[in-house]
Symmetry: C2
Subunit: 187 residues, 2 copies
């Protein structure tokens, strides 16, 4: 175990070739997901990444696990939880950021692929978001104010955002995301 973990958890030789291969494969997956014409298969991903297919088979095993790995590194720490002091402002900014994130075609394609790949990957997309939302709500409660329950906030904010992004062809806009907050909070 190294004394100071270098802020990465790639495990087993974080620096050097392994990390480069990992980054190249992740990048290849993201690229291929946008080009929906091509099939997302291990040899195709490996060729695009300039890596031998054997490497991908050994490190990830299947397309599903590879997608889950890409998703975890994609949905971790990319959106900072806002802290403006006001619950409404926090939620509005967070919803707007999330709308921008889900408007990105790459992200959207990744989410769709994760959903289609299997069961466990889907919770990866929502887990981090739900925790962030929970943090906002708990902070408001810590201020001594009332706040909606997490379930209610998920239904009113996360659900419409993801639904619109995944099931419709209209991208969620930041402005529309703010109206969701208006409907959630009374007044």
């Amino acid at each position: 175990m190294p004394a100071t973990t270098p802020a990465r958890r790639t495990d087993t030789r974080p620096g050097g070739r392994s990390a480069r291969v990992r980054a190249a494969v992740h990048q290849a997956v993201k690229e291929l997901l946008t080009e929906e014409a091509s099939e997302l298969t291990i040899p195709v991903v490996a060729t695009r990444a300039g890596v031998h297919p054997t490497t991908v088979y050994r490190r990830w095993g299947s397309v599903g696990e590879l997608l889950a790995d890409v998703a975890t590194s994609r949905f971790s720490g990319d959106i900072v939880v806002p802290d403006t002091g006001s619950l409404r402002a926090d939620l509005e900014r967070y919803a707007a950021d999330l709308a921008r994130d889900l408007s990105d075609p790459d992200t959207l394609a990744l989410v769709r692929a994760i959903v289609g790949a299997g069961g466990d990957g889907a919770s990866v997309c929502r887990g981090e978001r739900q925790r962030q939302l929970e943090a906002i709500l708990e902070r408001e409660q810590g201020r001594g104010h009332q706040a909606p329950t997490l379930e209610r906030a998920v239904d009113a904010l996360l659900a419409p955002l993801y639904y619109r992004a995944v099931f419709t062809d209209r991208s969620p806009t930041p402005e529309w995301a703010r109206t969701l907050v208006t409907h959630l909070l009374p007044g």
Copy 2:
């Protein structure tokens, strides 16, 4: 063109072998979708259906088109729009029915596969539902009462139902679906 369309739109020889093959293939797809271990590929589907793979290749071409076809026949006319005379009761019953529908593992697996398969198929799952919801709202307006906009109802009802079904491991229950209606309608 036949004089009286027999309430089916299978096109080109609705009765007989073609219809049987179509039904068998559809059933095979539904079965294989529940067994998520197996890959959903044309030869596998054909073998399960007791049909030669060539037939499936010629009729549907790809897995994506096959899934879209299964989805259209699955999401058409399976839920009757309630008409109780009260908007709240209509929405509560409709949401509860939809929750029951989305709790079915077969339906859920189909939705997830459709989302992952490509772009156009996803709207098939929601298009019929949104039209049904619109019908309920317009009927209430026809009674001279105020009703939420379609967009608002979609965000408050359809989105949480689909989000919970697809992205979480908790099935939506009819009771919880009714609470969504409570949150949508004032009072």
